[in-house]
């Protein structure tokens, strides 16, 4: 590659970085603006303030935001854990075992993945209020499984196919049962794949909005994206732009941290299979 060409690719890379980070930089900047500054029509605040953060963390909106943050973390982590556990077993069976119904399971996963969330929300709402799951953690965890399970099954079965299965067979030859072989040999080998899947599943659960606004109504289970619509300004007619921006920044921090720590794994998880065609 010539130096000139190198420079161009480098410029391209920098442009991509700008493109990706610009809206994030904007919402961060917005979150540091004072109420009077919000309409200053410029990108940066004229005076920086922590006012918006104190509103949502210790001030009037903290009763809304903090429980929502707790709910979001709790619900998404539990949903991720359950989804990983279930799909781990399923993916193992799909990648490794020969049994009728494999196609059915994969087809179902595909069907569920393309299912419009809005079509599920109303019937689920009706069912949840009959059986008392409305506005509870399980009431969100279960629908989140429908979002995370299909992807987890795909991603994980792709990872599982790369595992050197001879080792399992070796273990079986040594007298271990299929179950023991799975637990003692495959689980440690599969851990990285499971971990990656967990991150992606967490992103998906964390991103939910439609279930959050439809299946909750108090701080007992309301997640952050749904709580953003509840902030208010000093009066009911004032837009809570600053508080929303600050809350948006806070919910973005966990995903940014995950991305920075595990970027290589996430890319592998998202594209697995395609690379190794």
């Amino acid at each position: 590659m010539s130096t000139k060409e190198k420079t161009w690719w480098w410029v391209g890379g920098v442009l991509i970085i700008l493109y990706c980070l610009f809206p994030i930089a904007w919402i961060v900047s917005l979150s540091f603006k004072t109420t009077a500054d919000l309409a200053n029509k410029s990108f940066l605040p004229s005076a920086w303030t922590w006012e918006n953060y104190s509103t949502i963390l210790t001030g009037t909106a903290s009763d809304l935001f903090l429980p929502a943050l707790r709910n979001s973390f709790g619900i998404c982590l539990i949903a991720t854990a359950i989804s990983c556990l279930l799909s781990m077993f399923a993916a193992y069976a799909i990648a490794r075992l020969d049994f009728p119904g494999k196609k059915l399971i994969l087809g179902t996963a595909l069907g569920v993945a393309i299912f419009p969330v809005i079509s599920i929300v109303t019937p689920l709402f009706n069912l949840w209020r009959q059986i008392g799951l409305y506005d509870t953690w399980p009431g969100l965890i279960i629908p989140y499984l429908s979002l995370t399970l299909p992807i987890s099954i795909w991603t994980m079965s792709a990872f599982f196919r790369e595992i050197p299965w001879e080792m399992e067979q070796a273990a079986q030859v040594d007298g271990a049962t299929t179950w023991q072989a799975f637990r003692k040999v495959i689980v440690p080998l599969a851990a990285p794949g499971v971990f990656t899947t967990a991150i992606i599943a967490f992103f998906i659960a964390w991103n939910d909005f439609a279930y959050g606004i439809s299946l909750t109504s108090t701080s007992a289970a309301r997640p952050v994206p749904a709580a953003l619509g509840l902030f208010s300004g000093a009066s009911q007619f004032q837009d809570p732009t600053g508080a929303i921006a600050a809350a948006a920044v806070i919910v973005t921090i966990p995903v940014v941290v995950l991305v920075l720590l595990f970027q290589r794994r996430i890319v592998a998880g998202l594209t697995n299979g395609a690379v190794k065609g």
């Binding site: 391209g12 980070l21 020969d98 196609k103 429908s146 795909w154 196919r161 594209t271």
Partner: protein
């Protein structure tokens, strides 16, 4: 709303069962297979099959949540009302416009991003890769708010930054009309999901054999010729699968519209229409019918892709 990943395209290695009593072994395997995969299968089925069956049932009734005593059987009446109403077709039109525009732009832009990433020097590559994952990982609602605040006439900076463009001035009200609202909605969607497409395409690029590229180069093919004749044909599978999943995703758009315009100025998508009938108007019957129609539309799109464009999902799933 939902993000999708590319299903694995690997083929299953045939399982070579160890020698021994084959039928016992396969029966045990069969049982274990269902034992392991069963729970996930049941959960997926329960969370989606039950609701859709209930939605189909309710869609046959005139049923208002606040007036349950007057629930009455309508047959296919609700569907007739919806399909003869301009509002439904308006929502379909808006949804199709958003889908076509965003998916087309994302494909081109995503391809460009993938090329840059493939070529980017190793010094900058990890940074680019981390940056590109951020829009993917950011909550849709947050992205919608960010773009809305940027374009809004009071809080935004876009008007003052781009005032030199024809048609943009300090007083441009982006959310005041259908076309400009849709423009901003599409921008936000494109920003959020292009990185995902570009990662899939990057993976596809890696699949193109270097030998073919080299051979074309030797034959004196230009960069463009190599792109059209070698690179793209060899990535067809990756492109088609990415297209399918993004199309289905875009067609279900809800969050961004809810945040940015709440359906004002004819920017209502089909998902939003369904939400409004059931959740806002508490017309469970009518809303369920919209939901069922939305579901059928998605199934139809998937079917067209699979049959029409011959996207081989079986292969994509590693099932062949």
């Amino acid at each position: 709303m939902t993000q999708t990943t590319l299903p694995p395209t690997e083929k299953t290695q045939p399982v070579s069962a160890p020698r021994g009593s084959i039928s016992d072994r396969s029966r045990a395997e069969r049982k274990l297979g269902w034992l392991l995969a069963g729970p996930a299968f049941v959960v997926m089925l329960l969370v989606t099959a039950y609701p859709i069956v209930q939605a189909v049932y309710y869609s046959l009734f005139n049923y208002r949540l606040t007036d349950p005593d007057n629930r009455s059987f309508e047959g296919l009446g609700n569907y007739w009302v919806i399909l003869t109403d301009g509002v439904w077709w308006q929502a379909i039109l808006v949804t199709v416009i958003i889908t076509v525009v965003t998916v087309a732009v994302e494909l081109v832009l995503g391809f460009a991003l993938a090329l840059v990433m493939a070529k980017a020097l190793s010094s900058i590559r990890p940074v680019v890769r981390a940056a590109i994952l951020i829009p993917y990982a950011v909550i849709t609602v947050v992205s919608a708010f960010a773009w809305q605040f940027a374009f809004r006439i009071d809080t935004g900076f876009v008007n003052s930054w781009f005032a030199w463009l024809p048609g943009v001035s300090d007083t441009t009200d982006w959310f005041g009309g259908q076309a400009s609202s849709l423009f901003v909605i599409c921008l936000a969607e494109i920003w959020k999901t292009t990185p995902f497409i570009s990662l899939l395409l990057l993976a596809g690029l890696a699949q193109v054999p270097d030998v073919l590229q080299e051979a074309a180069k030797v034959d004196g093919a230009t960069w463009w010729q190599r792109m059209w004749r070698v690179t793209i044909p060899n990535m067809k599978a990756a492109i088609m699968v990415a297209l399918l999943f993004r199309t289905l995703d875009a067609f279900r758009i809800f969050d961004s519209i809810f945040i940015m315009t709440a359906g004002a100025n004819n920017t209502e998508s089909v998902s939003f229409l369904a939400y409004r009938q059931t959740i806002s108007r508490v017309e469970i019957g009518l809303g369920s019918a919209v939901s069922v129609l939305l579901f059928l539309s998605v199934v139809l799109i998937a079917f067209l892709f699979i049959k029409g464009f011959k996207v081989d999902l079986a292969q994509a799933r590693g099932e062949r």
